[in-house]
C-alpha cells in the first residue's frame, strides 16, 4: 500500500532516473515542496534538477516553457492551482501554442502540477478546481488522477508526454492509500476506468469526487440501484467511447464534479452524451453552485458535491425514493 502523494513522488523519481533531461522547478522544492511531494528528491538528484524558485509563478511557467522548447522536460510545481492564475499567459498563450505557431519546429513537453480542490477552510484563493478552463485550450492535455495507482502511472505518462500537460492532483487525496504494483507502468493518457460496475445509471466523475460517486454507488446498490461509476482520469482527451458505451448500457447519465457546475467540464460531457446517446431520463449534472468557496465549514460544506447528493440525484433520475 502506498499513498497518493508517495505514488506521485515515485513517478517523478523514476522519470528522473530514466531521463536526465527531466527536472523539477517550484517554490520550496529543496525542502520537499509545500505538501512534501518532493521530499528526498533533492538529496537524490541535487538542487540543479530539483530546483527551488523565487515566488514568481510567471517565471516558473515561462522558464519551463523555454527550457522545454530546448531539450529538457520540466516538471512545474504550482503549489496551489489558484496560483497558476499568475502564470496564465505563459501556459495558455505561450506553452500551449508554441508548437502550433511555429509550425511544429518545437514541442513543449512540460508537466504542470496544479494541486486543486477544497481542503478544509482554505477559502476562496486556495480551493479552486479550474480543470474546465484548460480543457478549452487547444494544445493542452488535462489529467485529474483519483487514486495512488493513477497518480503513479498517469504522472509518469504526463512527464513522458511531448505535449504540455496540466496535471491536477487533489489536495484532499494526498494521504489516500492504495495499491501501486511494483511493476506498474505509465498508462496511456485518455483512458477512463470503470470503478464500479452497474446497469441502471452511469455516473461520470473524476478526481476526489470519484470517491463520493463510489460511496453513492455503494449506498444505491443497497437500495437496488446499479450505478456504474466511471473515473475519467484524463479530461483531455477524454474517453468518449467508454462513457457512451456505459450510457448505451444504462440509459442514464449523471456527471458529478467538485468544480462549479456552470461551464464546468461536466457541461461538455453532458452535452456530448445528449448529442450522441438515447436516454431513459434527461442527462443530469452535479457541481458546485456558482459561488466562491467560503472559509467557515458550514458555508464551505454546502458547496460540496457529496455521496448523499449524488445518490439523491440518481434516485430522482431512476424514479426511486430513498428509504426513510
Amino acid at each position: 500500500m502506498t499513498t497518493y502523494i508517495e505514488a506521485g513522488k515515485r513517478a517523478v523519481a523514476e522519470a528522473m532516473e530514466a531521463d536526465p533531461t527531466v527536472w523539477c522547478l517550484g517554490e520550496d522544492l529543496g525542502r520537499g515542496g509545500v505538501f512534501g511531494q518532493y521530499k528526498g528528491l533533492v538529496e537524490r538528484f541535487g538542487p540543479g534538477r530539483v530546483s527551488d524558485a523565487p515566488i514568481s509563478e510567471a517565471a516558473i511557467m515561462g522558464v519551463a516553457c523555454g527550457a522545454a522548447m530546448t531539450g529538457t522536460r520540466p516538471v512545474v510545481e504550482m503549489r496551489f492551482s489558484d496560483f497558476a492564475l499568475c502564470a496564465v499567459d505563459e501556459l495558455v498563450n505561450q506553452a500551449a501554442k508554441a508548437r502550433f505557431m511555429f509550425g511544429g519546429q518545437s514541442k513543449v513537453p512540460i508537466t504542470v502540477r496544479e494541486p486543486i480542490g477544497m481542503w478544509r477552510s482554505s477559502a476562496a484563493q486556495h480551493s479552486q478546481s479550474l480543470e474546465a478552463w484548460y480543457t478549452h485550450i487547444p494544445g493542452l492535455v488535462v489529467v485529474c488522477p483519483a487514486t495512488p495507482a493513477d497518480n503513479y502511472s498517469l504522472l509518469l505518462a504526463a512527464i513522458r508526454c511531448d505535449d504540455p500537460v496540466v496535471y491536477m492532483e487533489h489536495k484532499n487525496l494526498w494521504p489516500l492509500e492504495g495499491e501501486v504494483p511494483q511493476e506498474a507502468e505509465a498508462d496511456p493518457l485518455g483512458k477512463a476506468r470503470v470503478m464500479v460496475a452497474g446497469s441502471d445509471v452511469t455516473i461520470v466523475s473524476w478526481s476526489a469526487c470519484v470517491h463520493e460517486a463510489a460511496k453513492a454507488a455503494e449506498e444505491l446498490a443497497r437500495e437496488g440501484i446499479g450505478a456504474e461509476v466511471i473515473d475519467l482520469r484524463t479530461l483531455w482527451p477524454w474517453d468518449k467511447e467508454a462513457v457512451l458505451a456505459s450510457v448505451a448500457k444504462t440509459g442514464r447519465c449523471l456527471v458529478a464534479h467538485e468544480a462549479v457546475a456552470v461551464a464546468g467540464f461536466g457541461a461538455e460531457i453532458a452535452a456530448t452524451v445528449a448529442e450522441h446517446a438515447v436516454l431513459k431520463s434527461p442527462i443530469a449534472r452535479l457541481g458546485s453552485p456558482r459561488a466562491p468557496i467560503a472559509y467557515a465549514p458550514t458555508m464551505e460544506n454546502v458547496l460540496r458535491v457529496t455521496a448523499d447528493k449524488i445518490a439523491e440525484r440518481v434516485r430522482t433520475m431512476t424514479g426511486v425514493k430513498a428509504v426513510a
Partner: protein
C-alpha cells in the same frame, strides 16, 4: 533607538505590540485544538513593524496586507474579538466567516484586506491610491508585503504605476529573511526592496524593523512626505519571524541556533521593554500591561469559541447582484 525616548509613546507601543503577540498566541493555541480551521501565519517577532508603521496611519487611511496580516489589522484598529470570530469561522467575524485569516478585512477602519496571493495586494494598493487622487482627498494608502513578494511581477507593476501617477502610497517590505521554507535572499537578485524601489525613482529607506522607535520615526516622516504629495515611498524594514511559516510548521529547515540567537537579540518587545525599564518604568507595571492584554485576548477567544458557525445558506450571499447563485440556482 534614539536617545530621547518618548516614554509614554513607547509604553503605548509596548502595549500594542503585546496585544498583537497575545492575539497570535491565542490563535496558535486555537489552531492546535482545531478551533481555527484554516492556515494561520503568525506575525510573532514582527510586531514593531505593524505598530511602528500602521500606528502612524489615520483611521481613514487605507491599509492592504498579506497572509501574515493579523498584526497589521489589529494595529489599524480592528477589534480582536471580531478577528478571532473570523479566524474561528464564526458569526461575528469581520467577514462573516467567509474569509478567515488570509482574507480578513475591516473596511470600517480602512483595512481593505489581507491577501492569499503573495504580491497581489500591491497593485490593489496602487488602485486605492489612484482612487484617492481621482476623488481628491488627503488620505494615503499603506501596503505591506514580505521580502518574498518582491520577486513577483505585481511588485514591479504596482510600484511603477504608483510612481508614474505620483500616488500617495507607502510601500512597506517586511523583510523577515524567509519566504516559507526558503531563505529569501537565495532566490532574490540584488539588494532587495530598497534598491529596486530606487531604480524606479521611488524614495526608499531601510530601517531596523525590530526597533519600534526607529520604525515609528521613519514612518512618521515617510507618511508626511506621502501625504504631502511627494508620491510613493518605500520602507524596507528588516525583521524576523519567530515561529514557523504557519502555525502548523515546526520550521525545522531553519538552523535552530540562529533562530534562538535572533529571537534573543532582536525580539522587538524585549527591546522595547529594556528601553522602558531603562527609562524608569517599573517591571511590574510592564508585566501588568502584558497580563492585561493576555487576559483580554483570552476572553475574546473564549467569546469566539462560544459563537455559532454561520448559516450554511450565507454561502450564496454577497457573490454578485446580477446573476447571483440565489437566483440562478442549479
Amino acid at each position: 533607538m534614539t536617545a530621547n525616548v518618548d516614554v509614554a509613546r513607547l509604553r503605548d507601543q509596548f502595549r500594542r505590540m503585546n496585544e498583537i503577540r497575545a492575539f497570535e498566541l491565542e490563535a496558535i493555541e486555537a489552531a492546535k485544538d482545531g478551533r481555527v480551521l484554516g492556515a494561520i501565519h503568525p506575525s510573532i517577532g514582527q510586531e514593531a513593524v505593524a505598530v511602528g508603521i500602521v500606528g502612524n496611519l489615520r483611521r481613514d487611511d487605507r491599509l492592504l496586507s498579506t497572509h501574515r496580516g493579523h498584526g497589521h489589522t489589529l494595529a489599524k484598529g480592528a477589534e480582536p474579538r471580531a478577528m478571532m470570530c473570523e479566524l474561528f469561522g464564526r458569526v461575528g467575524g469581520n467577514c462573516g466567516g467567509k474569509g478567515g485569516s488570509m482574507h480578513i478585512a475591516d473596511f470600517g477602519v480602512g483595512m481593505l484586506g489581507a491577501n492569499g496571493v503573495v504580491s497581489a495586494n500591491i497593485t490593489i494598493a496602487s488602485g486605492a491610491a489612484h482612487a484617492i487622487k481621482l476623488l481628491g482627498d488627503d488620505r494615503i494608502v499603506c501596503c505591506l508585503f514580505g521580502d518574498g513578494a518582491i520577486n513577483r511581477g505585481p511588485f514591479l507593476e504596482g510600484l511603477n504605476w504608483a510612481k508614474v501617477f505620483a500616488l500617495p502610497v507607502l510601500f512597506v517590505c517586511e523583510d523577515n529573511d524567509w519566504a516559507a521554507t526558503t531563505r529569501t535572499r537565495a532566490m532574490t537578485a540584488g539588494e532587495g526592496a530598497k534598491a529596486r524601489a530606487e531604480s524606479l525613482g521611488i524614495a526608499a529607506e531601510r530601517v531596523d524593523g525590530n526597533d519600534v522607535g526607529a520604525v515609528d520615526e521613519l514612518a512618521r516622516e515617510a507618511i508626511a512626505r506621502v501625504r504631502g504629495g511627494e508620491g510613493p515611498f518605500l520602507i524596507h524594514a528588516v525583521t524576523f519571524r519567530h515561529t514557523g511559516h504557519t502555525s502548523a510548521d515546526p520550521g525545522a529547515y531553519r538552523p535552530a541556533e540562529e533562530v534562538a540567537r535572533r529571537i534573543a537579540e532582536e525580539d522587538p518587545i524585549a527591546r522595547a521593554r529594556a528601553h522602558l525599564e531603562l527609562a524608569g518604568v517599573a517591571a511590574a507595571d510592564l508585566d501588568a500591561d502584558v497580563a492585561q492584554v493576555a487576559r483580554a485576548m483570552a476572553e475574546d477567544a473564549a467569546f469566539a469559541s462560544a459563537q455559532p458557525y454561520p448559516d450554511a445558506d450565507g454561502a450564496f450571499d454577497d457573490v454578485q447582484d446580477v446573476g447571483s447563485p440565489r437566483v440562478m440556482a442549479f
